[in-house]
Amino acid sequence: MDFTPHSDADVTRMLGILSLERPEDLFSHIPEHARLDGALDLPTPLSEPEVMARIGGMSARNTAGLTCFAGGGIYDHYLPPVVRALTMRPEFVTSYTPYQSEVSQGVLQVLYEFQSMVAAITGLPIANASLYDGPTAGLEAVNLAVAATRRSEVWVSRGLNPHTREVIETFAHARDLTVIEHPIVGGRTAWAHDAPGEPAAMVFGQPNYLGVIEDYDEAVALAHDKGALAIAAVDPIMLGTLRSPGAAGCDVAFAEGQPLGNPMSFGGPVVGLFAVTEKLMRRVPGRLSGRTVDRFGRTGYTLTLRTREQDIRREKASSNICTNQTLNAVAAAIHLSWLGPNGIRETANQSIQKAHYLAKRIEQIKAVHIGVDSAFAREFPVLLPLDPDEVVLAMAERGYLAGIPLPHHYPDLPGGLLVAVTEQRTKEDLDGYATALEEVIADA
């Protein structure tokens, strides 16, 4: 295929005007010995039907049709067709970052509304225009706290998503930050109140990675007592029914925003949500769309507080982020407006009710236990008498993606399998899952 419009005659004509003979002459100023003299080992061009057959074949070699009980931040919620129909408008899909505000009012206003709705669900007044995903948003939250407190120690709960902890660890290493992990006991964080040190931040999941609902008041009071920022990693759908991090007194909230408007997409592209108190506004990483007026006094939107950003501030910027996940934020905004206050609450409540129904069913299976003794929301660990990696493969043969094996990140939970439930799972799915799990264990 070829997406350049030029005919050979066009090329000849243009080269002639430039006083060049052959297309290669365009590169004659590049030192000859650096230029490639032979063809690279690249594929033969394909026609469109051939490309579709090739890529379609790859797609077909994935087992995507399984009934999904995996979560860990990426959830299989119902996605109304209206979200894709509007998100895929070419004006949204094929535009650049909205630097030229006059020709970018559409994206800028959607981002303003996205920011407003992220503020609404997190209970915090300021939200940005998106980050890459939940875990990298967690890293940005830590960076913000380190800059705001001028401290270099970070306390994280072991109940924080292990991938978020790994991303923080990757950068902490380079930045000489000390990361101190606090254990989980019975599923909840057991903060070491008397631990020495001056943390910049205390970071925890709400609900945490194991699905357990943490005690906001304890974490927030301890953080503020230590002079640290209280940072909560939240599940955006659960904010339909759980107390918001803003209401609980947190300084920063971040989230994996995929459940809002985005398919699971093998984990990307998804969208990071990021919200802060008004006091921290000027430390926010990434883009911010702000409301203003034009020369006629008409309402309009523009990228604002730009002096935080890399293209203005260079080495002193609050973050290096440039391209973020705008189209995924557009999808999230459309989905949030479709859900409204009651839709998000019902989605959250149904997911929780169904998770607890499934947990009751699983508890009845011989030699299987629920791995926590604290209240959980829509996700919970199951302790199996078998290797959970093997169980996942056996369950896949029965049509289920059973969950996320936990021993890789929690060696103290051998046999652990993290099971997530969304409102999409019917009673038949839940009963079928429990029956299949019982069979797999009985067959072993």
């Binding site: 030229q100 006059e102 009012q105 509304e113 300021i126 991938h163 407006s337 206050p341 839940l430």
Partner: protein
């Protein structure tokens, strides 16, 4: 009002009054959502931390929200509407077949934790994209975890750090040209390094003597775009690489401008050790109004062990498994990176094949050179070296003569149906206009763009006030950016507290 008289896309944006916000469209009791009734017995779970009321989201009917977002789309320019010569951003046409690929349920509905045995198809796509990318860049292996260019830069710098750390000391300085993208110095700081700037010479290229003067045993490496941000090929690139290698530093290639050299010359052959590519530029994945992108990092053989992981790797039996590089810097994304962007890019690579990818470089340079030729008489080209896929022109003469600045020229272009160029970047050129037509615009479109730029210069002489007020055919004009920053209103909630 002047009629710019170009194509139908001259005035693609519907002007007039503002679009209400969702909050304005909201009324209690309106509803778009629909869910089945709960089909398991509802229990009183008595959970802690429950909210008293649901979040304060708007309540809108589906019909109203569809009209709202459609009208907002009408207020936005995109590549599908017309040429988008935004320099350094490579806003080329995004083929629809690539969108089709990313929507396939076999990719779209995959959970990232699904084991490799169940996801061989997408892993094959990643392995194939990695192979083609390495062949084009002259590198050995790549990781697709970095979700954007800036994330790729940071990843590359952490690899640099790990390399030096293993030799005993991470070093302190990273050298970057003064004309580099702002993400470069910002990434350097985030990686715990100090950015040392090196000036460009009168030819618009790295000043070799100045480079020698700042490079020493404490230099971890150099970050460079080639062609550079002026659109010029750094002719002394091999000397530059040698200077860095002499102190055992690493040379980092910022792939922002990779489009210009596909199949012509490879970063690996020029002496680069680490390369990030922007799939959302060079490999035609749509920019989405500011993402998602994808910024894979590729490295030479001796740095493979530091790549972020795990990485899909073919095992002996033909199956693809996740493999963690031996001394990996760790994880830089929550999952595997922007995988559906990689699927789009692979679709593009396979469609074009080797000859098509080489044609991309040729025709992007041809279009840029042609546009430069057409507008050069009016807008001075400050450097004499032939441009690659983009060039920087200056409106300095126009400003002296008429008071019309680069910003005014940029603001006037949308009235002609074109997006604005990048302005005031790089900072080394006064009144800079950075134009990148890309290879997917026809000669006629390039000519129409040139004609518009020349006409704007004419208008500047006859009626500068008209240009001070441009654009005239857009929904809003000349927003109060200073006011927006002085009293920020970033959410509905801040409107209420004003």
């Amino acid at each position: 009002m002047r009629d710019p008289g170009a194509r139908a896309s001259s005035t693609p944006l519907v002007g007039g009054s503002a679009e209400p916000t969702l909050r304005d469209l909201s009324a209690p009791g309106r509803q778009a959502w629909s869910l089945p009734d709960l089909d398991v017995p509802r229990r009183n779970l008595d959970l802690p931390e429950m909210a008293d009321a649901p979040p304060a989201l708007p309540e809108v009917a589906e019909r109203d929200l569809v009209a709202h977002f459609t009208r907002l789309a009408h207020r936005n320019f995109g590549v599908d509407l017309g040429a988008y010569p935004l320099g350094s951003c490579t806003m080329k046409y995004n083929p629809k077949v690539c969108d089709w690929a990313a929507e396939l349920p076999g990719f779209r509905d995959l959970h990232p934790s699904a084991p490799a045995q169940l996801t061989q198809g997408i892993l094959e796509a990643v392995v194939e994209a990695e192979r083609i990318l390495c062949e084009l860049t002259g590198m050995s292996r790549a990781s697709f975890q970095p979700p954007a260019g800036a994330a790729g830069e940071l990843t590359g710098l952490l690899i640099m750090r790990a390399y030096h750390q293993e030799k005993g000391h991470p070093r302190h300085k990273v050298v970057i040209p003064d004309a580099s993208h702002g993400t470069n110095p910002a990434s350097v700081t985030l990686a715990g390094y100090e950015a040392v700037s090196v000036p460009s010479n009168a030819k618009g290229m790295v000043d070799i003597d100045a480079l020698r003067a700042v490079v020493d045993e404490d230099t971890a490496g150099l970050m460079l775009t080639n062609p550079n941000t002026l659109g010029l090929f750094e002719e002394d690139i091999e000397v530059i690489a040698q200077i860095i290698h002499e102190v055992d530093g690493l040379v980092y290639y910022d792939g922002a401008n990779l489009n210009a050299i596909l199949g012509v010359v490879r970063p690996g052959d020029m002496g680069f050790d680490i390369v990030h590519s922007n799939l959302h530029k060079t490999f035609a994945t749509p920019h989405g109004g500011g993402g998602p992108g994808s910024g894979p990092v590729a490295v030479v053989e001796r740095l493979i062990q530091y790549l972020p992981g795990p990485i899909p790797t073919p095992a002996g039996d033909g199956a693809i498994v996740w493999e963690q590089p031996a001394a990996s810097i760790g994880r830089v994304h929550g999952n595997h990176g922007n995988m559906l962007v990689v699927v789009r890019a692979l679709t593009y690579m396979l469609a074009l094949g080797g000859p098509g990818l080489e044609r991309v470089a040729q025709r992007s340079v041809l279009n840029a050179r042609y546009l430069e030729h057409l507008v050069g008489k009016e807008y001075a080209i400050p450097y004499t070296a032939p441009c690659m896929h983009e060039f920087v022109a200056s409106a300095e003469n126009l400003k002296k003569e008429t008071g019309i600045r680069a910003m005014d020229v940029a603001k006037a272009l949308p009235d002609y149906g074109f997006h604005a160029p990048t302005v005031y970047f790089p900072l080394v050129v006064d009144e800079a206009l950075m134009l990148e037509p890309t290879e997917t615009e026809s000669p006629e479109t390039v000519e129409a763009l040139a004609k518009a730029l020349l006409e704007i210069a004419d208008v500047a002489r006859q009626d500068p006030e008209y240009l001070h007020d441009a654009p005239h055919h857009t929904p809003v004009s000349r927003l109060d950016d200073a006011g927006a920053a002085r009293s920020p209103v970033l959410t509905w909630f801040m409107e209420d507290s004003q």
